[in-house]
Symmetry: C2
Subunit: 308 residues, 2 copies
């Protein structure tokens, strides 16, 4: 599980930072990549990474501002052009369907894979055996969602060595033991499967928020998250600007991380007014409140390690 930032700027592209897109690489977990937002030229950024568009399985759109969606039609088209043939689902706020449909229809873009667009509400918007994604509204003037990506706990592994020390040979019985059932061996011994299974592996939580002011929904979404990705369009001193434009400051993002008990905070969506050493200042403002914080730059990647 790895996060790869494809665009970390705010509003308009700049040489140093492209507009928003974040890849959550789930290659080990499901052989797939999930994308969060897709600003213009996201497919161009991808050309400089190991991401393969055909592997993109889900795209989650936080909100419909241009710097978060104008790269969608191109990426969807190119994925087909390059031979992607597995289904793709786009999740986003109401309006995303009409945007995608109009762009693809007007341009006669023929998508050869199964494309499904889901206009979401709050709640569980995705769930399978391994993952769940929960959406909640933030505070951005325009409808903007935050996403809590929850990896489900993995059952413990079978303690094969311990079984073999007792002379219990591999066979169908291993399945029963792995499920933690009580089983009777050929010699009449009764064993408790739970004694032969390691502890469950805790799943990880990654919270990725759309543009927002400081709000309670962010804290709920980021509760105990392994990683929280929060916008920090402005520095601490520009709190008024942040409020007026429905954005957050570095210290507000840090407050959210702290109050939520998150383990790590990554700041992104940085206004182009902050350059060079000013970015160190942004980072330090947040660090004073929440020490385990990073400021993303384009192409930065962060692994999300399993809890011990």
């Amino acid at each position: 599980m790895e996060l790869l930032f494809l665009g970390t700027g705010a509003g308009v592209p700049a040489k140093e930072r492209n507009v928003s897109a974040i890849a959550l690489q789930l290659l080990e977990e499901r052989g797939a990549t999930w994308l969060f937002d897709c600003g213009e030229a996201t497919q161009h950024q991808i050309l400089h990474t190991s991401i393969r568009p055909r592997r993109i399985e889900n795209i989650f759109i936080t909100h419909l501002h241009g710097d978060h969606i104008f790269g969608l039609p191109g990426l969807l088209g190119s994925r087909s052009f390059q031979g992607g043939d597995t289904p793709l689902v786009v999740y986003g706020p109401k309006g995303i369907q009409s945007f995608i449909e109009t762009a693809l229809t007007v341009s006669s873009t023929h998508i050869k894979y199964k494309l499904h667009v889901v206009e979401i509400d709050e709640g569980v918007i995705f769930e399978d055996e391994r993952f769940m994604v929960i959406a909640k509204r933030l505070d951005h003037g325009m409808l903007s969602y935050g996403f809590r990506v929850v990896e489900k706990d993995l059952p413990g592994t079978l303690l094969v060595d311990k079984l073999q020390q007792l002379g219990i040979r591999p066979g169908p019985i291993y399945q029963q033991i792995k499920l933690g059932k009580t089983v009777e061996l050929d010699d009449g011994t009764v064993i408790d499967g739970r004694d032969f299974v390691g502890p469950p592996q805790k799943g990880r939580i990654v919270t990725i928020l759309g543009d927002t002011r400081y709000c309670e929904a962010s804290i709920e979404l980021a509760q105990e998250a392994d990683v929280l990705i929060h916008e920090a369009t402005f520095g601490a001193r520009d709190g008024e600007l942040a409020y007026d434009y429905y954005h957050s400051t570095t210290v507000q993002a840090a407050e959210v991380a702290k109050r939520a008990g998150a383990k790590k905070l990554i700041l992104t969506h940085i206004s182009s007014r902050y350059q060079g050493a000013m970015c160190d200042e942004l980072l330090n403002e947040a660090k004073a409140i929440f020490p385990n914080v990073e400021l993303a730059r384009d192409f930065a990647s962060f692994s999300v390690p399993r809890k011990k």
Copy 2:
């Protein structure tokens, strides 16, 4: 008058060539830039040039394929965000209006300048005292236009030295002479204004074609053009592919230039299958038929000199 290629690739962006966009710089002529097509990330390419989005006055769209229009919403939005406040007109085939409107509406992009979208037919689509643009349908499966940009002839300059040698002093009479009228001097001499005006400066002609198969309309549009920009998606040996996909080969582009009596040919919209030395080969194929030819690369610029 200068041509600056912002994207010279075909279909999908590649590291070496972005999707289509060409800037016609008319800074001396009208303090403005005209854009022809606007593939995704055109605004990103512009960041690496001296083009100022606020100076873009007209955008001409040849056809609605994604690689020619997906950069429009972002560019229109950023032009406003960056303070552009002069009017902008987008000319394109039927459908361009709905694409732009949907993208701007869904994304709540508020354009602060006057944006006018004109869905064009064949014929004169733009005209003022200095320039005229003529559109004609090409052959691309989807409706695709070629544009003939005609700079109008400039009247000749007044031959001041010659007037002063005759002792004719500057004054209101100079205006009459400049217009080529016959005037009577104070001493009764009658002179013909036309004798005191240099030859008119011939205007230039730049022909920029959308994606197309080899067709007669291209030749009409490129008649005696100073520069013809023609797609060359494929090399000479891939003529069948070119035909099947409604594109042209290098030699077809050269044939058009030759038959039209164009002065210079620039090839663009090059498939990413051709790399490095293969591009030299593409150029040579065309050169064998039409010697004054160039193969555009991203950020290449060509000035269009006045005729002597």
